[in-house]
Every structure is written in C-alpha cells, then in structure tokens.
C-alpha cells in the first residue's frame, strides 16, 4: 500500500486520505473530487489531444508528452510543482535541445501544419461550469475582481501579496529564467486559465498594456488578430504595424507571432512576461544557445548575461519573489526590443512564423488538459485564500517610474535607488539633556558644589611663631637643661644613693670570685644613642674586670657594637688607668650576624662563627682562648645592652647552654623591668645586674672608685627630680583642665 506524503508537513498518510492527518492540509487535489464530469472531461481532453496530435510538430509533441507525463502520467505526484521546480537544468537543456533540434527540422515543414483545429475550447468553458459551492473564496474573489471597475489600480499594486505562482504569472520574470522556465510557465498559465475568467483578465491586461506599454499593446492587438485570423497570411499586416511603430524587425515579428501561438493562453490571463515578449525572449535564447547553431557567433554579448545572473538560481529553487522585489523589477520584455534591434538574422523570420499556427491549437489543448483540480496539494495548502479573498489583487501594479538620472536613465521600472530604498533621512536630533527629577537635580547641584569647593584655594591661617606645643617643648627642655647644668656648674655635692643595689652587689661579688686572667666574654650590644648611660653603668664593671686581670673576649650582635666596645675599652683605660690592648689583654671578635640563630650558634660553636678577630688574626690560637670551645668554657658572660629584646634573647638562647657559668647584665634603665624576673631568687637565670646610671653609681660606691657615673649623679638626681615634678605638675594641670571642662559641660547641661 503506497502512502502519500503530505507536501506541507512531509509526513506520510494513507493513500485514501484526502487531508493530512497531521497538519490537516489537503493531500489530493480538490478538483479530482469535485466533479466526475470534470475528470471525464479531462480524460476527454486527453483523448482529443491525442487525436489532434497528428497535426502537431514533433518538438511540441515531445513537449506535450513531457507535460502529460507530469500532469497525468504520474498521479501520485500529480501536479507536483516541487518536481517542476526541482527539475534540473540539465533536463531542461535536454528537452530544450530536443526542441531546438526539432525546430530546425521543422523549419522547412512547418507551413504544412494546420493547428487551427484544436477542439479544446470546450474545456475553457468547463471552468465556468464548476459548482460555485466547491470553489474556494479566494478563487471567487479572483473571478469577481476582473469585473470590478477599479481593478486596474488594485490588481497591479506592487505591495499586494500574491502567491508565488501568481507572481510568476503576473509579475515580471527575470530574463535568465527563460531557459528552464518554459515548461513551468505553461503549467502556470494553464492554472491561471482555469482560475481566471479569461475574457476579463485579458481585457485588464489589454488596458494595462495600453496604458503603459504601447509597443506591447501592439503585440496584444497582434495576438487578437491572430486569434481571429490564425492564418499566416494575416501576420505580415500585423507585423507591419509593429515594424512601423516600434521598428521591430521582421524576424522578431514572426518570432513574436510564433511565440504567441506557442503560448497556449494568449487570450487568457497570460501575464505580461508570458505574453509574447517573454516567449520571444525565450525563443530567441533557445535559438541563440542551441548547440550547433550557425548563428551563434552573431549572438550579442548581452544574451549571455541572463543565463549567468543569480536570478537563475532563484528560478531553480522556485522560491517566491519577495514583496519588495515585486513591482520593482522592470519587465524584461520592455527592454528586449532595444537589445534585439535589427541585428537578428533572417532565418528567424521564417521559423517562428510557422510555429504560430503550430501552437495555436495547442493552447486550447493545454487548457482542456490542465484541470482545476490538478492543482497539487502543496499548492492548495500554500494558497493564501484569506489574503486573496480579502480583496487583494493577484495582479501587481507595474512600476511606471522612468529613471531620470544615472546610467539607467530612460529605463522604466528600474529598481528605485533613492526614493524608496535609499531614501536619505535626516538624522534625528535627540536632546542631550537628562530627564531627572527635582530631587536628583538638587543632589547633583550639591555634589557639584562640593567638587567645586575642593578645587578652590583656601586661605591659610597665619602660622603662629610660637605654638603651644613648641612652647611646652622649649620650656621643658630649658627646665631640664638648667636642672642638669646647674649642679655641674655649681658643683653641688653628690647625694649618696638611697641603698645599694642588690643586683649590682651580686654582680660585683661574682667578679670578685673570678680567678685571675679568667676568660670573660663581654658582649657589647648597645648603640651610640645610649652610650652615655651604658658607658657610665658599665665602666665600673669593666674597671673591676680589668683590675681582676680578666681576659676579655668581645663580641657584638649589632654592627656598631665592635666600635662601641673599642671605645669602651679605651674609656675604661682612661678612667681606670688600665692599659688593655687588643690581642694582648682582650680580643674583639667583631660582629655576630644572624640574630637569634647567630647567638644560638655561637653558644654551641663559637670557634666556627668567629674564626678571626677584628684585626683579621686567628682568634682561637691565642693561649688566652685555647681552652674555649663553647660559651660554657668562659668564666663569666657579661652582656651590655640597651635593648630588652636583645637581653631576653641572650637569656633564652645562651643561658641554657652556659651551665654553671654566671651570666651578668649591664643594661639601660629601660631594660631593667624586662630582665628583672630572670634575676629573681626563684629563677636565678642571671646572676648579676647593673641597671642604668643609678646602678653604675651604686657599683662605683661599692668599688669605692668614683667614675663617670659619680660625675653624672648630681645632675642626674636633679634631673630626675625635675622630671618627676614636671610629670606630676603637668598631669595635675591637665587633670584640672579636664575637670574644669567637665564642670562647664555639666553646668551648660544643667542650664540647658
């Protein structure tokens, strides 16, 4: 069982189905089911066609056979325009070549044929016999429109939508479509014959032609005359009119008459492109492009262009001409005579003239053969019934405009470049002012003012010569300076310390317990900024060590430490009257890099970290250090530092490695609070401490060797007193001011 494929949705349906089960589109042609008489009539027409076939030339018979195969031979495919539209160009070339060859063969015999008897006229009248109730509305409208008096303005409207097949009929055809469009054109014209009242439309066409194309009207008149007098003897007279009016050569007149007869619907709703002129072009092209033609060399160059133009692809794909293209394409037939001129050879004069009579009768045959119900389903479904029934004309209005400028000057219906498509428009001007609300405007103004105020210069207030802070600074310095200077100038006797420092006493006792020439590691880790305090505090200790004859080994964990140590030794020599020299009584190993890790490494491997002394000599080959391999081998470790962190690092990293070796500190006053817990009885991590100038002075008192600390003590004591007074006095002053301010604020609050 064969299925029928729906032309709309592409799905298969059973053969007996008339309407697609899926998209409800009609599968089978309407006409087939309309009337049995119609089908009979079609069969009858076919028979008549075959009966009259004997008088038809071979090329036309072949053409008809091809059409009959398409129309009737394959009912499954029916009137499949898809097939027609998808027909290969090669196939067209094949039948065209056959046609050409037949035409050449018939050129001598065409006069013998009589095509006047066609017997197909009854089929045309059968179109009117269709029951009205089975005719769709769009068709009724189409039928009613030609009777309308205003149809001229509407049916040729360029913007009126028309189905593709109607467009092909009524509208202009691109010239390059002519080669392979001919069989389809015949089919379409047959369709139009069935759907259009023949006389009305022909009248409309005539009126249109009369209005716009005078020379075409000549053709139309010629056609009418041919219809009335199909005899070849009547053509010369008609062609003379054309020649006189349009200067068309004889061969073209014959060719026109030939094509008019070749066209099976010369009196029907034949669109302009199919009426005469277009077929003339087609025939001319056939003649020119037929292989083996002796006159091919005379073919003008313009004749090649239509075949190579892109419009040919459109016709092959059978795509509908877009709306914007409708009405803008000039009818090719208008220009053909300009191109043809008088250059056609004479052989064209005779052959078409005979063909007129040959084809004259076949027109009716086509009308009779192509029935209304033979419309393919896909075409039925695509038919815009509503659009047409709503009153739109199927005939487009031709473009009457004539180019007035440019290379196309004088041509009619050329694509409008400026008025419609590329109409110059003035760029609209939009307001650049923002549409903002009043609130936004106020905020914008506020921001603008703020930004403006940022850029405006502000007058600088005069800087007072003596500000309050500067005054206080000078006042405090003056007080301290005088407090320190006056005791020095006046020689105020030194006040004894309130009590001896137990930490200093502990360190003094440790030093006293050292054996003679005991190796002592002296770490000088204070900077020059606090050298005044550290020198005064450490000199009595260094003095005691020198008295004991200790072999001093100096290291430092800060870069300026080695130089500070040299200065300290020289100062100790100067104050204590010693003669300590490097490499004899002491060694300066220099700077120890690495911070914490450096100290840890030195505690374990001092020889590897300090292979040379500050003078570049091998430090550990001296007999004084021969027995030293680690810090615990020293008799005592004495650290001079002004940094709490350095003091704690020494305690944390070195003290655990010392064992029983005592660790003493001489530190600045600011370090004492940090290392004091390590000196406590419960911890005993350090064994002696001299802190600040007071510790040095106490140590000097213990040693009964006054030194620098004793010289500074009077000034230092007065200075501490003044500082204490200033601290307390200024604190009270500030507290009083704050109290007064708070009182005022409370008073203001109570008043308010």
């Amino acid at each position: 069982m064969s299925d029928i494929r729906c032309p709309m949705c592409g799905k298969t349906n059973p053969e007996q189905e008339e309407i697609c089960q899926f998209c409800q589109a009609r599968i089978k042609p309407l006409l087939v089911n309309y009337d049995e008489n119609e089908s009979d009539q079609s069969i009858k027409s076919e028979d008549e066609f075959e009966a009259t076939d004997s008088g038809i030339p071979d090329w036309l018979r072949n053409l008809r056979q091809d059409e009959s195969r398409e129309l009737f031979g394959n009912e499954d495919q029916g009137f499949s325009a898809e097939k027609n539209s998808s027909t290969d160009f090669d196939e067209n070339q094949t039948w065209l070549s056959d046609l050409r060859s037949d035409q050449r063969d018939e050129s001598d015999e065409s006069e013998e044929y009589d095509f006047s008897s066609s017997g197909e006229e009854g089929n045309i009248e059968d179109d009117d016999s269709f029951p009205d109730q089975e005719i769709p509305e769009w068709l009724k409208n189409i039928r009613s429109q030609p009777a309308d008096s205003e149809i001229d303005d509407q049916k040729f409207g360029a913007e009126t939508y028309q189905p593709p097949f109607v467009e092909s009929e009524s509208d202009e055809v691109v010239p390059n479509q002519q080669d392979h469009f001919l069989p389809e054109a015949s089919s379409f014209t047959s369709i139009s014959d069935r759907y259009e009242p023949k006389q009305d439309v022909s009248d409309d066409v005539d009126e249109k032609i009369d209005d716009e194309y005078d020379w075409v009207s000549e053709f139309v008149e010629l056609e009418k005359e041919n219809d009335k007098q199909p005899d070849m003897q009547s053509f010369p007279g008609s062609l003379e009119k054309i020649e006189d009016s349009q200067e068309i050569p004889d061969w073209l007149a014959d060719l026109a008459s030939y094509n008019e007869t070749d066209t099976p619907h010369k009196e029907d709703v034949i669109p302009e492109w199919l009426s005469g002129d277009q077929l003339i072009n087609e025939q001319v092209s056939e003649v020119f492009y037929s292989p083996g033609n002796d006159y091919q060399e005379q073919t003008p160059e313009w004749s090649d262009e239509p075949l190579q133009s892109p419009g040919a692809e459109e016709s092959e794909t059978d795509e509908p001409i877009p709306e914007f293209f409708q009405g803008t394409i000039p009818p090719f037939t208008v220009d053909i005579e300009n191109f043809i001129g008088d250059e056609f050879p004479e052989w064209l004069d005779s052959a078409p003239a005979h063909a007129v009579q040959d084809i004259d009768g076949s027109v009716l045959e086509d009308d009779a053969r192509i029935q209304r119900g033979d419309l393919p389903d896909w075409l039925q479904a695509m038919r815009p019934v509503e659009t047409i029934s709503s009153g739109h004309s199927i005939v487009t209005e031709q473009d009457n405009r004539i180019e007035s400028a440019g290379p196309l000057i004088g041509m009619q219906g050329a694509l409008p470049a400026e008025p419609d498509i590329a109409r110059a428009k003035k760029t609209p001007v939009y307001s650049s002012r923002l549409q903002v609300s009043e609130k936004h405007q106020l905020q914008a103004n506020l921001i603008e003012q703020i930004i403006k105020s940022e850029g405006e210069p502000v007058a600088m207030h005069g800087k007072p010569i003596l500000a309050t802070q500067q005054f206080l600074r000078i006042a405090i310095f003056t007080c301290l300076f005088l407090a320190l200077l006056v005791p020095m100038v006046l020689g105020i006797p030194k006040a004894p310390p309130n009590q001896f420092s137990p930490e200093a006493f502990m360190l003094s006792r440790l030093i006293n317990q050292l054996p003679g020439n005991a190796p002592v590691l002296l770490a000088v880790d204070y900077s020059a900024s606090l050298s005044g305090e550290l020198d005064a505090a450490s000199l009595p200790v260094i003095d005691q060590l020198m008295i004991k004859g200790a072999n001093l080994t100096i290291v430092s964990t800060i870069p300026t430490g080695p130089m500070q140590a040299e200065r300290l030794i020289q100062l100790a020599n100067q104050v204590g009257g010693h003669k300590y020299q490097m490499s004899i009584q002491y060694d300066n190993l220099g700077y120890l890099p690495g911070g914490v890790t450096g100290l840890l490494g030195m505690a374990e491997l001092p020889r590897q970290l300090f292979p040379y002394n500050l003078l570049g000599e091998l430090a550990w080959q001296d007999s004084r250090l021969s027995g030293i391999y680690r810090l615990a081998d020293f008799s005592m470790i004495l650290v001079l530092t002004d940094d709490p962190e350095t003091a704690r690092t020494w305690i944390e990293q070195v003290q655990p490695e010392l064992g029983d070796t005592p660790l003493g500190f001489v530190v600045a006053a600011q370090v004492e609070p940090v290392i004091a817990p390590y000196l406590a009885d419960s911890a005993k991590q350090i064994q002696g401490l001299v802190s600040g100038l007071s510790g040095g002075y106490s140590y000097e008192i213990l040693m009964v060797r006054p030194g620098i600390a004793s010289n500074y003590w009077s000034s230092y004591s007065v200075g501490v007193l003044v500082v204490l007074i200033l601290v307390i006095g200024i604190s009270l002053f500030n507290g009083g001011i704050q109290l007064i301010n708070q009182t005022r604020k409370m008073g203001h609050k109570e008043q308010s």
Partner: protein
C-alpha cells in the same frame, strides 16, 4: 676633658660632637635643616660602617677565605650557605623571586624554631617554675622575711594570673545584651589590667631615665667643652 691635652683627632671629634649635639638640640625649635643633616649623617655613617664591617668581619673571614684557603670539607660547608645567600639575591627581581624562596624558607624556619625553642626553654619553663617556687624556701634560706615574702609572692602570683586572665577574650552573648565575660573573670581581668598599667609605667620610667642619662652625658660634654675652652682662653 681638656682641649690642651687632646690630639688633633680628638679635637676634631670634640668639635664635631659639639656641632652635632647642638644640631640635634635644634629640634626643640622644630624640624629644621640642621637636625636633618645631623640625622642623615648619623644614619649614613652607621650604615656605611655596617657594610664595611660586614665585608671585613663576615664575608671575607667566613666566606672568601674558606673558599680560597680552606680544605674541601670547609669549602662544602661554605658552599651551601653561599648558594642560599646567592639565591636570596633573586628576591630583588619580581620574576625570579621564587628562586629565593628556599633560602627564605630556611631562614624563617630556623629562626622561628630558634625563637620558640628559646622561649620555651629560656622563659616559659623557668618563669613558671619561679612562680611556683615563690612560696617555697627562698634561695637564701632565710625565714625571717616570711610574711613579707609571702605578700610579695602573692602579689607576683596575682599579677601573673590576672594578667593572663586579662588576655582571655572569650565571652558569651545573651539575648539583647553585649557579649560579656563571666563576672569573676571580669574582676580578675580588671586587676590584671592594673598590673599591666604599672608595668607599662615602669617601662616608660625606664625609657625616661635612660633618656635623661643620655641628656646628662651630653650636657656634661658641653659643659666640659665650654669649660675647657674657657680655661684655654677661647
């Protein structure tokens, strides 16, 4: 100090000391050029001296000499830190700074390990034991100061505990109230806050005394210089 006894170098040093001291004192009147010149000279001299000292006291004796004169074992021992040191140079380049990461990792790792280890063995354990031993027999074995020692030890213990409690910041939040620690913790932290304030005051006093001692030394220098100049007839 007597100008008549000073040699030329000491004399120049004394004069420079006077100039720089007065330049630094000029800061009392505000920031000025003399102060900035003196400060820059001190900083530059200290940096330059540090560079020279590092070259002559560190690089040459501990890197160059072992590479040139040392045996193979010393060369290997020197080569590793030298390589790590050279990798640190790549830290100057943003693109190649990754090559210096191993050296930095080594330095940071060893440094942190040394600090933590030293803090544990040198501060935390000994100081914890010292706090525990406060109420034990004193090192001197004297028993006559028992009551005062008990009070002193109690204050130290209280100060240690309350200071640690002060840094306990965990608290609970009740609905509609600010987060607040437990009431006893609040009281203990307040006591710890007092101890911390006293400690900071003592540290400030130590800094003040150190600065005062330095000022005393400078004033004494100036006075002796003026006195010497006056004595020799300037």
């Amino acid at each position: 100090m007597n100008f008549a006894e000073l040699n030329l170098a000491d004399l120049i040093g004394a004069v420079l000391g006077l100039v720089f001291t007065l330049s630094i004192f000029s800061y009392i009147l505000g920031d000025n050029m003399l102060f900035r010149i003196a400060s820059s000279i001190f900083i530059g001299a200290a940096a330059g001296f540090a560079v020279i000292l590092s070259i002559y006291n560190v690089l040459i004796p501990q890197v160059i000499v072992p590479l040139l004169e040392g045996d193979s074992s010393n060369m290997i021992l020197v080569f590793i830190p030298l390589l790590l040191s050279l990798l640190l140079v790549f830290k100057l380049s943003p693109k190649l700074s990754g090559l210096g990461n191993p050296s930095m990792a080594f330095l940071v790792g060893v440094g942190v390990a040394a600090v933590i280890g030293g803090a544990i063995t040198g501060t935390i354990f000994p100081q914890s034991l010292a706090t525990i031993h406060l109420f034990g027999k004193s090192s001197e074995g004297s028993s006559g100061l028992g009551i005062f020692r008990f009070i002193e030890s109690s204050i130290i213990l209280m100060g240690t505990i309350t200071t640690l409690v002060y840094f306990h910041f965990s608290a609970r939040q009740k609905p509609g109230q600010y987060p607040r620690r437990w009431e006893p913790i609040e009281w203990l932290s307040w006591i710890g806050q007092c101890f911390i304030a006293v400690t900071l005051g003592v540290l400030y006093a130590g800094v003040l005394l150190s600065a005062l001692a330095a000022l005393v030394e400078r004033v004494s220098f100036l006075w002796k210089l003026v006195e010497s100049m006056y004595m020799i007839g300037f």
